[in-house]
């Protein structure tokens, strides 16, 4: 399945946006993972922002950045939101309040708890009535989301898809069941055909067990730990190829026995 990248957004420890990420890979700037962003996406109205979860703020910040780069109207984009854990902070609060002699769930927490909360807030903020899918595939949530986005495009259901993958570590004690290394969010505006501002072309193939190669890793040890420590950060090798304008094939593990092969080709000539 051939798809085109029109815009990118990214947010992680030591990575405040796509420009910072691009510089990190392209210019080999030093990486400092101790700097943690505190996103406040302007797309959310102030009253929603105040009570929004970390998951919503991280995912919408990346989504908003990708849409800005694409210079396209978000109302024309279908969306795919992929997360392994989803609203783990809200789940923690609900479980805390259920563990009492007078169990209660606040109505706000309840509607914030659904796996598609981030997608719902995005559609309200952007005004997009296009179809929206929220999914989960444990460690393969980035890969599962990318496949969903690619099939939406290749079957002509959508002309443009905003794909967001994101996961935020749960608070203690829930954290111990899924100790993610750090929060991470990554977003792409994807389409079928190259436009003047398009960044890259991706050709995606699902490989079965016996065709699998060793998965593409990050050379930088700390970034590779990040890649393995948050399902959304499994997309880092794709960002690396885009930042460095590489014509290359990337291999991402998908579920326990499959792999995605992503053939990456830059749309723009290298500026070097």
């Amino acid at each position: 399945m051939k798809i085109v990248v029109h815009g990118i957004g990214v947010l992680g420890p030591g990575i405040e946006n796509w420009e910072a990420c691009r510089r990190l890979f392209k210019d080999q700037c030093p990486y400092d993972g101790s700097v943690m962003p505190d996103p406040m996406p302007s797309t959310l109205p102030a009253n929603e922002l105040r009570r929004s979860s970390d998951v919503v703020r991280w995912s919408l910040q990346a989504a908003q950045e990708a849409v800005q780069y694409s210079q396209l109207d978000p109302k024309i984009m279908g969306t795919v939101f992929a997360a392994s854990g989803g609203e783990v902070g809200i789940l923690h609060k609900i479980c805390q309040s259920l563990d009492s002699s007078m169990p209660i769930v606040s109505p706000t927490l309840f509607h914030q708890s659904v796996h598609n909360a981030a997608a719902g807030y995005w559609s309200i903020a952007s005004g997009s009535q296009r179809p929206s899918t929220s999914l989960a595939c444990y460690d393969s949530s980035f890969e599962g989301g990318l496949l969903e986005a690619a099939t939406l495009l290749s079957t002509d259901q959508e002309e443009f898809v905003l794909f967001v993958a994101y996961d935020v570590p749960a608070p203690f004690p829930l954290y111990e069941t899924r100790p993610l290394i750090a929060p991470f969010a990554i977003a792409f505006v994807l389409g079928k055909h190259a436009l003047p501002m398009s960044m890259s072309m991706l050709n995606i193939t699902v490989l079965s067990e016996h065709d699998a190669k060793s998965p593409t890793a990050m050379l930088h040890a700390e970034l590779d730990s990040l890649r393995l420590g948050n399902p959304a950060a499994r997309g880092l090798p794709v960002l690396h190829a885009i930042a460095k304008n590489l014509t290359t094939s990337i291999f991402l593990d998908y579920l326990d026995n499959l792999q995605l092969q992503i053939d990456h080709q830059p749309c723009q000539p290298s500026q070097d």
Binding site: T79, S84, G85, G86, L91, I94, C95, Q96, L98, D99, P103, V105, S106, P107, F110, H111, Q112, S113, V114, H115, N116, A117, A119, G120, Y121, S123, I124, S126, G127, S128, Q129, R130, P131, S132, T133, S134, L135, A136, C137, Y138, S141, G144, L147, E148, T151, L152, S154, T155, Q157, P173, L174, E176, T177, R178, V206, S208, Y254, L255, N257, L258
Partner: protein, 352 residues
């Protein structure tokens, strides 16, 4: 509420016992019905395990286990029980139900859990259809599994959306939904089985977002209309081809009212419609797959179900809501699903 009796006694075979939780017990019980497992074994030999996908809708997966674990926290350290922590991936995790089904049925194709609240297991049909069209799979096990948990029971109650008695969809005095639990599975293949005279087909689907409110439907049913229109377009059918509208019909004041407005805006008043939530309760993330299974039976038997428990249709409604069961041949059924976050999906089923 609609509770599946004896679910706690369902045991997973020892090699998969780490998946044990109410949601996966319900999934297993569902897979063991109506010769479904045998059909999948046959298909595995026909297509190969790697050519069959697994796409499951659920809203809460095994969150009941997490609720219990918090109730059993260590009072000193605040830590969750050591019996829960290592198996959280296989029970409470959102993907756990698809993971379990994939392993139980020995399938190795692409898989995902779709979780868009009450439209979850309708959306899996749309995704499965695209997977097949894009050549990722030859066939897909699609389904919905959602089990009772405190989060949904207390949550819907806090929103004042649960009825004190059995729910009454479209009734003038309807007073909320009845939560149920269910597992339902469908095997979706590219082409009809040649020797099967009774093959039901997914003829089309439409998806949309309300972009209005997290837990309240768009007041004029705009999102619902977009989903219904999308389903007609993708199946190349018009409103006059639809013989029965299987409503989302949760029996909350707002849902049924906006759904009626949306249907009335598109259809002539004589198209029969009803909700089956009075029969099954609202099975949330499983509602899509449950409705497809019921729809298949309606098509096979020429049966239109009336709204159970409803005595007087809301006089403000314009749609033709059925109160009594009716027998008549039907060609095409439209089924609606609307979830929190303003997530809508409409499916059209027909005979082939």
């Amino acid at each position: 509420m609609g509770r599946v009796e004896g679910l706690e006694g369902v045991s997973l075979k020892s090699s998969l016992s780490h998946f044990t939780c109410r949601n996966n017990q319900l999934a297993l019980l569902g897979l063991q019905q109506d010769g479904f497992e045998d059909r999948i074994s046959k298909a595995r030999r026909q297509y190969g395990a790697h050519r069959i996908g697994v796409l499951i809708g659920t809203s809460t997966a095994g969150i009941l286990e997490t609720e219990h674990a918090y109730q059993q926290k260590n009072p000193v350290t605040g830590r969750l029980p050591s019996t829960f922590v290592p198996v959280g991936r296989f029970t409470q995790d959102a993907f756990s139900v698809a993971h379990f089904i994939r392993q139980y049925l020995q399938l190795t194709g692409p898989a995902a859990v779709i979780s868009t609240a009450c439209s979850s297991s309708a959306k899996v049909f749309a995704t499965a259809s695209r997977y097949i069209e894009a050549g990722l799979c030859e066939a897909v096990v699609v389904g919905g599994v959602d089990s009772l948990c405190l989060t949904t029971l207390y949550g819907f109650s806090a929103l004042q959306l649960t009825a004190p008695g059995p729910c009454r969809p479209c009734d003038a005095n309807r007073d909320g939904l009845t939560i149920g639990e269910a597992a339902a599975f469908v095997f979706l293949e590219k082409s009809p089985v040649p020797d099967n005279q009774h093959s039901t087909a997914l003829l089309g689907y439409g998806e949309s977002s309300d972009a209005y409110h997290m837990s309240h439907p768009h007041p004029t049913g705009q999102g619902a209309i977009l989903a219904m229109k999308g389903s007609l377009k993708s199946s190349s059918l018009s409103t006059s081809d639809i013989d029965y509208i299987h409503m989302h019909g949760t029996a909350t004041v707002a849902n049924d009212q906006t759904e009626d407005l949306a249907i009335a805006a598109m259809f002539q008043a004589h198209t029969p419609c009803s909700s089956t939530k009075g029969w099954t309760g609202h099975t949330l993330g499983a509602a899509g797959a449950v409705a497809v299974v019921l729809g298949d039976l309606c098509l096979q038997q020429g049966f239109l179900p009336g709204c159970l428990n409803t005595s007087t249709v809301d006089p403000t409604f314009s749609s033709q809501v059925l109160l009594q069961n009716r027998e008549q041949p039907i060609r095409h059924i439209m089924s609606n699903f609307f979830g929190f976050g303003g997530n809508n999906c409409t499916l059209i089923l027909g005979r082939r």
